[in-house]
């Protein structure tokens, strides 16, 4: 456990316990408590990472390895956007408002636990806590679709946990310890690594299932589409990324893929990454539901991160970390916008929508920023992360993968352009006539996130220094 960041785990947990009691008869107090907790945490984190003296010193004063600080900030940022959005989005009649906020805060605490832990067993514990809160959150509105999504999520993540447990016991047999450092030291030595790699591969397989990488992706679209609208932003933006992709990047650095140890595993991981890029992008092309298309796009973007993690060179790890953060920003904007559409027009079916730009200009333009960033158009943040990943692939001599990654980036642009044309541009449809722009508080999170996307793209040199520091610390 990284003790410097322990408070960011405990305070949301405390708040989650307090909310059901304090706000039992005052539902508005639940909104307030959840938002204040996350806002205070985020301000605190920004001060820790972005105060002028730290920036001037090239981020050398960051506690821990810097990776956990970056991801805790991402967790708090997305969590704050989701709770702020929910405060205005939730139905007044929703009976379990307090439980909803409690669960969001517990999931924020669990995610903080996941990214700050330093051994596999604690990682497993927090992943399970996170999974339980996700099941409950997906079914917030008690709809049949939500239940179906949650059940599919449950039936696929449960065997993944069994695989992680089996991997942990193989590591116990072969390595004798479960801490990250023991694995790192072992992989840096010259001892043949067979059984240890096998244990790590079992754990990694569990996390690949939880991340929704392609052969195991079937639960992802259903869970995202069925989930209650703000919850799908929370899930797609951060929960599945932390519960699956984070651990894959961490294992990739611990197994020292860049040294050529565990080469077979690295090759398989890269292949699966490429497969998810392709399948996700091609499946997204023919979706008719906005949220389901975003889910397939999410699978495709996770593919980029897994591909880079599988390569494992410092440049690729930088790209993976940067893309993980970017994914949190742009996918949150798109899912929150789909929630706004659902509230205003009552549907997310792309065939029924059209010309929404005339009545919902803000929603339309924040979507444009987010989708251009996803497709990797300069100068937005997504461009830089994809550039890093493709450069790393090219540098390592994997020219086929580099070219394919670039090509599917264009496919990404294609399906998003089709979505934008069908939903926002074009002639005004019947839905557009009757649906006004949502209120300013509902737009604020999307606008904030779009500002983050543009700012990260323009202030890339600073962020590059940060990510470089992180990659150096976690690889060496």
């Amino acid at each position: 456990m990284d003790k410097g960041l322990l408070a960011y785990l405990l305070i949301p947990l405390l708040s989650a316990v307090v909310i059901p009691f304090a706000a039992r008869n005052r539902p508005k107090l639940a909104d307030l408590l959840a938002n204040v907790t996350l806002l205070a945490g985020l301000v605190n984190l920004l001060w820790l990472a972005l105060r002028p003296s730290v920036i001037a010193g090239g981020f050398a004063d960051i506690p821990g390895d810097g990776f956990s600080l970056l991801l805790v900030s991402a967790v708090y940022l997305v969590g704050l956007c989701v709770t702020f959005f929910s405060a205005w989005f939730l139905d007044e009649k929703l009976p379990n408002r307090q439980a909803y906020y409690s669960l969001i805060l517990v999931s924020v605490a669990a995610m903080t636990g996941v990214v700050t832990t330093t051994d596999f067993f604690t990682l497993y514990v927090f992943i399970e806590v996170l999974a339980v809160t996700s099941f409950a959150l997906i079914t917030t509105d008690d709809s049949g679709a939500g239940l179906e999504g949650a059940l599919k999520y449950f039936f696929l993540t449960f065997p993944a946990s069994a695989l992680i447990i089996a991997g942990i016991s193989v590591l116990m047999l072969s390595l004798g310890s479960l801490s990250f450092d023991a694995l790192r030291v072992f992989m840096a030595s010259d001892i043949p690594s067979g059984p240890v790699t096998f244990g790590a591969a079992l754990i990694m397989l569990g996390f690949i299932i939880k991340a929704g990488v392609v052969p195991f992706h079937t639960w992802t679209p259903d869970a995202y589409q069925g989930a209650y609208a703000p919850v799908s932003a929370h899930l797609a933006g951060i929960v599945t990324k932390i519960s699956g992709v984070y651990a894959i990047i961490k294992l990739a650095t611990l197994l020292r893929f860049f040294d050529g140890r565990a080469q077979a595993l690295s090759g398989i991981l890269m292949f699966l990454g490429m497969l998810s890029i392709a399948v996700g992008a091609l499946a997204a092309l023919k979706q008719t539901d906005f949220k389901r298309m975003l889910a397939f796009s999410s699978i495709s973007q996770v593919g980029y991160i897994v591909l880079a993690a599988g390569l494992g060179t410092p440049l690729a790890v930088m790209g993976a970390i940067f893309h993980l953060f970017n994914h949190a920003t742009f996918k949150t904007v798109l899912f929150l916008n789909s929630a706004s559409l659902e509230k205003s027009a009552g549907t997310t079916d792309m065939e029924k929508l059209g010309g929404m730009e005339h009545s919902m200009p803000w929603t339309s333009w924040t979507s444009v920023v987010a989708l251009l960033s996803t497709a990797g158009v300069p100068p937005l943040s997504g461009f830089w992360s994809k550039l890093l990943i493709i450069l790393a692939l090219w540098e390592a001599g994997l020219k086929t993968y580099a070219v394919l990654a670039l090509l599917f980036s264009i496919v990404t642009l294609a399906y998003f352009m089709m979505m934008q044309k069908k939903v926002f541009f074009g002639r005004k449809s019947q839905a557009a006539e009757s649906s006004p722009e949502v209120s300013a508080p509902l737009l604020a999170p999307a606008v904030l996130m779009s500002a983050v996307i543009v700012a990260l793209g323009l202030l890339f040199p600073y962020f590059y220094t940060y990510v470089k520091m992180v990659a150096e610390r976690i690889i060496l």
């Binding site: 179906e148 059940l151 449960f158 946990s161 069994a162 447990i165 089996a166 116990m172 589409q225 008719t288």
Partner: protein, 101 residues
């Protein structure tokens, strides 16, 4: 055959039984039972590994925590099953197909 080889042989059998139970049944409840068997097999690996490395105390501590966590996960899963049965009126896994695209 040593005791530990026998342990892992039984564990593999148990895993297979669990996965077979999941594949062969249509009822969600039976699928959950299959999942339970799989996860029990995975937990047996932990205690076996602890015994093999003469680290039984550590393995027991891990295992008890895992059991507690698993109880919570299964409780959440069962709640989903019951709710699904109330909403849909059936526990057939093949009827979970309303989300498509």
């Amino acid at each position: 055959m040593s005791v530990f080889a026998f342990d892992w042989y039984m564990i593999a059998l148990l895993l297979f039984a669990g996965f077979y139970c999941m594949l062969a049944s249509r009822s969600i409840v039976r699928q959950l039972i299959g999942l339970e068997i799989v996860s029990k097999a995975a937990m047996l690996t932990v205690i076996s590994a602890g015994a093999l490395t003469a680290n039984l105390v550590f393995a027991q501590a891990l295992l008890i925590t895992m059991i507690v966590i698993e109880v919570v996960v299964v409780a959440a899963g069962l709640a989903l099953l019951v709710k699904n049965f109330r909403v849909k009126g059936s526990a057939d896994i093949w009827k979970l197909d309303s989300l498509k695209g």
